[in-house]
Symmetry: C2
Subunit: 489 residues, 2 copies
């Protein structure tokens, strides 16, 4: 137990909340459900952003920026969209405050009422398709491949730091295509981008799948998703990619002239990931001592803690260790040499809490023998290594740790994914948590009933699900493939 962190086994939920706070990732603000992302947390988010942004650009997308505010009437143009978002949106009604004549301080100026209320964007389909109407005339204008990094607001009743906050940061891709085929291909290409990012950067194994009609994005014909498994056996939706069909094109009258001179509606997609990924990162890998960060997302990859009795010793250590620091930096490794006046033991605990992947401890006696101590955060192992060659060793070790964290999470997911074939088995396994692969009869009613009985939802119909005849675990009705159930964040 580190620095007053609860144990995962005793109270997973508190462990998460406390860890996010104590590791200086983020904290709740005075504004209900809104968070403050602190510098250490934001540095991780910046690395996520940079990696994703590079991947978006490699796949042909450009960034742009659309307004924060959406006129109320826009929201209503796509019927299922307004149903999905109207119940939880922040509404601007006035544009000025004034000093109250009765001495109540600053109050809303009733004379500054907006003619039409504005909504703080919960997502930008409506604002963007309203622009696409003007941008698209002919097939030559297509495809449009745009992404936006932005803040969005959804007035959630129950909030949870990073996982479900009133305001969150995200990216939202919005593309427009001449053909259904292209739009469908874009939807699945972006799902692949998300899977690759989750795997290679977050060390997070995910299941690619399709949402059931019940769980689809409000306004989409098809929602693809990546689902991850947290250490408490609950699932977490980590990213979605929506095939919008021609729904928004029709709602905003976006037509284009085809090569053959015909006028047709445009096909659309949208896709997004958010600061929720920060929550997934914490929940997937961290332990009772604190964060475990995959090296590729760690703001500090290597921390060097000198152990010394006086300034003279510190100077000697610094001189001996400096070439290694320079070599690591030249290798693109981010290194912190912590010469603050805290005790080594305090520093060890602090960097364990912060999830720094590699800790190097250097004491005078060892250094005189040309030795240093290298400790891994992920498995807590320690080894003595020679100073000579240390930078190459540590650089390679970072890659090894990245792999090891992924492998551990993958094993966890494999071990906690169960094929269940009866209702009894379903209930029994659900108790333990994990992904339950089970037959379902395909009806929304059955899905609702299972949710009502057990709180488990269909996370997705895995894209790689094989055809297999079976019987729905609840109704016994025929089913042709298994879907993935879990309790979820």
């Amino acid at each position: 137990m580190a620095k007053g962190l609860p144990l995962r086994s005793e109270n997973y939920s508190e462990w998460y909340n406390e860890l996010v706070k104590k590791a200086d990732l983020a904290e709740n603000s005075d504004v209900r459900g809104c968070m403050i992302i602190k510098p250490y947390g934001f540095a991780i988010w910046e690395k996520m952003q940079r990696a994703l942004d590079d991947m978006f650009k490699e796949t042909g997308h450009s960034n742009a920026y659309f307004p924060l505010f959406i006129p109320k009437s826009y929201l209503s143009k796509e019927a299922s969209h307004v149903d999905g978002f109207a119940k939880e949106c922040a509404v601007i009604t006035h544009y000025r405050l004034k000093n109250d004549e009765n001495g109540n301080g600053v109050v809303v100026d009733p004379e500054a009422k907006l003619e039409e209320e504005l909504i703080v964007r919960p997502t930008s389909e409506t604002a963007i398709w309203n622009s696409y109407k003007n941008w698209i005339q002919s097939y030559r204008d297509l495809p449009i491949l745009i992404n936006q990094w932005a803040n969005v607001v959804r007035w959630e009743m129950r909030t949870r730091i990073f996982l479900r906050t009133t305001e969150f940061l995200w990216q939202e891709g919005h593309t427009a295509h001449a053909t259904k085929k292209e739009a469908v291909a874009e939807t699945s290409m972006m799902l692949d981008v998300y899977e690759k990012f989750a795997h290679e950067w977050m060390a997070l194994p995910v299941v690619k799948g399709r949402k059931t009609a019940n769980e689809r994005f409000a306004g989409a014909n098809d929602t693809l998703c990546i689902e991850a498994l947290m250490q408490d056996g609950k699932a977490l939706q980590a990213g979605t990619s929506h095939f919008l069909g021609q729904n928004f094109a029709k709602a905003f009258d976006v037509k284009f002239q085809t090569k053959e001179g015909k006028l047709e509606y445009v096909w659309g997609t949208s896709w997004g990931v958010s600061t929720r990924l920060m929550g997934a990162l914490v929940m997937a890998h961290s332990d009772d001592l604190g964060l475990v960060l995959p090296p590729k997302l760690a703001p500090i990859q290597v921390v060097i803690v000198p152990i010394y009795k006086n300034d003279e010793q510190l100077d000697q250590i610094t001189e001996l260790i400096q070439p290694m620091i320079n070599e690591l930096k030249a290798n693109g490794v981010s290194v912190k040499f912590d010469i603050s006046d805290q005790r080594p033991g305090w520093k060890f605990a602090e960097y364990e809490l912060k999830g720094v992947p590699v800790r190097v401890a250097v004491g005078m006696r060892d250094l005189e023998k040309g030795l240093i101590e290298v400790a891994r955060r992920d498995d807590l192992s320690k080894e003595q290594k020679t100073l000579e060659g240390a930078s190459a060793y540590i650089t390679a070790l970072l890659e090894e740790i990245q792999e090891a964290i992924y492998t551990k999470a993958l094993n966890f997911k494999t071990e906690n994914t169960y094929e269940v074939n009866s209702w009894e088995e379903f209930e029994e396994k659900l108790e333990k948590g994990g992904f339950l692969s089970a037959h379902w009869d395909g009806s929304s009613e059955t899905e609702d009933k299972i949710k009502e009985l057990t709180k488990a939802t269909i996370r997705c119909i895995p894209l790689d699900a094989k055809k297999e005849d079976g019987k729905c675990i609840l109704t016994g009705n025929p089913s042709s493939k298994r879907v993935l159930f879990a309790k979820a964040y």
Copy 2:
């Protein structure tokens, strides 16, 4: 005149508006005063962001993120701050819409009224100092050096794309220090960062100065600024850095224990630049043919236009030119080889409009002789060059163009800065535009009177102003240094 662009000399204002639109930088949205930044414009902003962010990090700052919403009561805690911002803020009063029972579509749900209204941040001092209260206990917690990239909203009555918009993107630095001396040093260091960025990246010469009390940030003790001159002779404030004294520390009760064990208020600064810089960039350098972009901020630095009669010729050109393209890319130059089916003349005009710094035209006949045509966007000069060595030549040329654009703007500023010594001279020169260096008696009344009479404001008291006895141009009262007047955006 390019693609229907008005001439600067005939209608500078329309020229600007049309250029921003036609060059695909940005456009107005349906939401009053809010803009849509299009991919080409956003690519420039991203380059600005990256360069500034690197400079902020080099000077020890970290990024963080604070909530979009500010409780109404926070705004009121610093008296002059609320006076400055209450009159122009977007107010959230409700958190839900519902279907109207009388069939009026979606309406605000009166039952979802917030207990306390929320303001969309016009700037984040209040939200941030409210957090600093919890983050700062001792001198060990100082300094705090934080920056935030964010959107902010100010309900401006008159808006102008990029220059003054209801919502804009910016960065806001917010630092907290143990001593006045440190905070003052931070304020001026960040002004230097802004000047360096304006000079080295935007090719924009600026005057560093201090705002008069009238023009200070609402809540600051001292506001430093960089002021630039646009081609129409109007000034544009391009960035500000505020010394906040202990004002926000007092308003939010932020004290710290000194090394000596005393309890003292913290000293603060804040500093920001915004998408307004995009407007400055356009207005400072561009011409009647379109944008002129400094190479360091140009999304496309070199465009290659092949001139060919058939696909076979295009293949030959491609083969011959490919090594040059590869070399340019290896030099870090962003290159576009435009093989679209538009005519070369159309492409020439298009890339002139878009401000691409270097255009290379390659035709079969020239290429057979080993020659290409290299055209500069800034001075519209063209030269034949050998293909051999072209990549090195063009790489160097980009640096030369960056310098040349700066020098041209610097000369313009020098030629349009006048020392004036009488009211007649002041009025006469003001007619022409430019910076007027004149004596002022130091009183806010005189400043107001001059503004009322001429619309000219004191842009700043230049930091390098020499002591010089003189008489105020309006009142004849004694003055000890000249200040800079201009009409401004």
